[in-house]
């Protein structure tokens, strides 16, 4: 068995194929790591033929911080705060994934108050993440104004987080065994205010962006991936649902309080950028619906099951828990030796890492403008890809 290991230089030095009747020459161009459209430090090598993209080669690692290695030297409680910094737009859902893994391994039953607050917080986080995505999509397509509108409304949700948690972005709020602290007395009122304010705004924004002819032209039938392709590519979240696969862990394997609420899973049909757009906008509405059902009935109870224990030692063996973040399925896989507080191996099944590779399948033989729309509709967060 001979294994061939290639390098990037070899990869991009493929000679151009000369079967084109116009005798054009293909060339490689480097997009990123500092590029406005790549949402951070993603680097793409594009094989172009004029304006047409023949191949996209993502080059990762520009923010690879070795979180899995650090995690092997940290306790589970400490590892929670590193997950904040992976997918910082679904920070609390990342915390929840670690907590869920630990609680599942310890066979802990949580009370309803914890579950309700976790669910509400996660949905608020999902809304703010999608709002930011909505604005950034506008900016990537060349309309700067939606970007600011999206940010303006996201700010209100950030205020709620700040009041309760004291932090705006990296929360570290959901912890193994409960919550960091109880909610602020104003929390319920503020959430209701936001819902009353933002629900009509969503319709208004849809008029600004969704009703626009240029947006429709730019998104419809662009970057189509079929359900089979999507499944094989392992994409999850809104990207998979836009292709017509109704895999939403909140519905198929309810965790938190999702089993007790009534909501619909938005599913697309074609799998193009427009479907991904539509699925996310619909998810904002459904998240509001979930919060509306829960916010009035938060039961009483403790927010931390016991005093923060000094040690969490998971039973020997492998443990896995997964949940649905704003971008897809996040799984935390931990192997414990049953003796130490630190895991032998901790691994994050990152939704963005799995989603980002579909950009090549989407963008083959499309234009550079389509590539930007595709990256934007994938809604990737680069630190979560690289970890």
């Amino acid at each position: 068995m001979a294994v061939k290991i290639s390098t990037l230089e070899e990869r991009i030095s493929v000679p151009a194929e000369g079967d084109n009747p116009l005798n054009t020459q293909e060339y490689f161009i480097n997009m990123g790591p500092q590029h406005p459209a790549t949402h951070g430090v993603l680097r793409l090598m594009l094989k172009l033929d004029g304006e047409t993209v023949r191949e996209v080669i993502p080059v990762l690692g520009y923010i690879h911080r070795g979180i899995e290695k650090i995690g092997e030297h940290q306790t589970y409680r400490q590892f929670v705060h590193l997950t904040d910094r992976c997918d910082y737009l679904s920070a609390m859902m990342n915390n929840w994934a670690v907590s869920l893994m630990v609680e599942k391994a310890m066979q802990t039953q949580l009370n309803d108050r914890i579950e309700y607050i976790r669910t509400i917080m996660a949905e608020l986080e999902r809304i703010q993440s999608h709002m930011l995505w909505w604005g950034v999509l506008g900016m990537d397509l060349g309309a700067f104004t939606p970007f600011l509108y999206g940010f303006r409304d996201r700010e209100m949700i950030t205020d709620i987080f700040e009041e309760t948690i004291g932090c705006r972005l990296t929360m570290n709020y959901i912890q193994p065994g409960g919550l960091m602290d109880d909610i602020h007395p104003n929390f319920v009122k503020r959430v209701k205010d936001v819902i009353a304010y933002a629900k009509p705004k969503i319709d208004e924004y849809e008029e600004l962006l969704s009703g626009n002819v240029i947006i429709q032209e730019r998104l419809r039938n662009v970057g189509t991936i079929t359900a089979e392709q999507a499944t094989s590519l392992g994409v999850t979240g809104p990207v998979l649902r836009a292709s017509g696969v109704a895999l939403d862990l909140r519905r198929v394997a309810p965790y938190g309080a999702y089993g007790q609420v009534d909501f619909e899973v938005a599913v697309g049909s074609v799998g193009d950028c427009w479907d991904r757009y539509w699925v996310r906008v619909e998810e904002i509405r459904q998240s509001f619906r979930i919060i509306e059902q829960l916010i009035d009935n938060i039961p009483a109870g403790k927010t931390m099951l016991s005093k923060p224990a000094k040690k969490i030692i998971l039973p020997e063996g492998s443990h896995y828990a997964q949940l649905e973040t704003a971008r897809g399925i996040l799984g935390i896989y931990a192997v414990s030796d049953g003796k130490s507080e630190n895991p032998v191996r901790i691994h994050m099944r990152s939704p963005n890492y799995h989603n980002v590779w579909s950009v090549d399948a989407m963008t083959r033989n499309a234009r550079i403008g389509d590539l930007v729309a595709n990256i934007s509709s994938l809604d990737i967060v680069v630190p979560d890809i690289d970890r």
Partner: protein, 368 residues
């Protein structure tokens, strides 16, 4: 008909070049003074107007986006553009090592020269025009084509693939949309019967072409405004410098003063396109007249022509800014499709309709 219009005119056209020519016989120094005034005035106007437009753009954008915009330098940030200009003057001037140095140096100069050449024939008021060419409309088209040369050279000489892509986009876009602009200019030329800008203004004494030419005028105006936005590389047609696609497009490698030339040329070109639109469709400096209502017309004449011109131009400039901060960008093929499959046929049909109108004299307010 045209002679009639001119003899009835209340406005005497006196351009700076005319004055210089008149003065040449009596006093050559006066002629030289007028020439210098024209040169210096154009230069000063260019830079001041550019800075003012940049400030206005930033403020308009800010207010569209529910924020304040520049606030710190001067009252409500009035001096912000001056600070930017001073800073850009002082920035280090980088010429990439592998760039074609001569062309890299020439590209912004071409860009700004084209702008200046177009600026001098805009009639801002009866007495505020540098030169009044009898082929004004053709001259503007020709000089406008010169400007894209600067962009193409910039993209080529930077030795940067993104720049080259931007430049090629600019070239393709300009050539395509130039046809539509010219077609809509031809409509007004047909209606007015002249290529000279001052005569086109005079011909609107009984009413602006946008409604004297009724449907034809309105269609021509919309074709003009869409395709001239495209020619200016402004959103939604800003593909040559599409920030999220090509980083900076053709000016990626430019810094400091050279970059500010492109920046300035872009904004002055916006002014020129708006001024041209105002001149051709809204009567330029001509006050709001309705043929036959002499009392009303004389009341309108009380407002100085310069203000009329400024107001109309500002309206079109605002229209362009409004579009810029509302619409997303088109894709390359969609851009071409819009031109070749929609605007071009519409432009041709409109031209035929205009010819019919001129032959049958079906204007509104036909005048004398």
């Amino acid at each position: 008909m045209l002679e009639n219009l001119l003899t009835h005119s209340a406005f005497e056209i006196l351009t700076l070049s005319d004055r210089a020519a008149q003065a040449l016989a009596e006093n050559p120094w006066e002629a030289a003074g007028y020439t210098l005034l024209a040169l210096g005035g154009t230069g000063a106007f260019l830079s001041l107007l550019g800075m003012a437009l940049i400030y206005v753009e930033r403020k308009v954008a800010a207010h569209f986006q529910c924020r304040l915009g520049p606030m710190r330098v001067g009252w409500h940030g009035m001096l912000q553009s001056i600070a930017d200009a001073l800073k850009l003057l002082q920035k280090e001037d980088i010429i990439p090592e592998k760039a074609d140095k001569l062309l890299f140096f020439l590209a912004p100069v071409f860009s700004i020269i084209a702008t200046v050449l177009a600026l001098i024939i805009i009639p801002m008021s009866p007495s505020l025009q540098v030169v009044d060419l009898n082929i004004g409309v053709i001259f503007i088209s020709a000089v406008g084509g010169f400007g894209v040369l600067g962009i193409l050279l910039a993209g080529w000489s930077s030795n940067n693939k993104w720049s080259l892509l931007g430049a090629m986009r600019a070239g393709a876009q300009f050539i395509s949309y130039e046809i539509s602009v010219t077609l809509s200019l031809l409509v007004i030329t047909l209606l007015a019967g002249s290529l000279q800008l001052s005569e086109i203004v005079q011909s609107q004494q009984d009413g602006w072409w946008i409604w004297r030419g009724h449907i034809v005028g309105v269609v021509a105006f919309f074709v003009f405004i869409i395709s001239s936005t495209a020619e200016l590389n402004r959103p939604p047609f800003d593909l040559p410098e599409a920030e999220s696609e090509l980083t900076g497009g053709f000016h990626t490698e430019y810094s400091g003063l050279r970059f500010s030339f492109f920046f300035l040329a872009e904004f002055i070109n916006m002014f020129i396109a708006s001024a041209l639109g105002a001149t051709l469709f809204f009567g330029g400096w001509m006050p709001f007249h309705i043929g036959g209502f002499e009392t009303f017309n004389s009341i309108m004449d009380l407002i100085p022509p310069g203000l009329w011109f400024a107001g109309k131009t500002a309206f079109i400039v605002f229209l362009m800014m409004w579009v810029r901060w509302t619409f997303p960008r088109l894709r390359v093929d969609q851009l071409m499709r819009l031109e070749w499959k929609f605007l071009l046929p519409v432009g041709f049909i409109n031209l035929f309709a205009a010819a019919t109108i001129v032959l049958t004299k079906l204007y509104f307010f036909p005048g004398q």
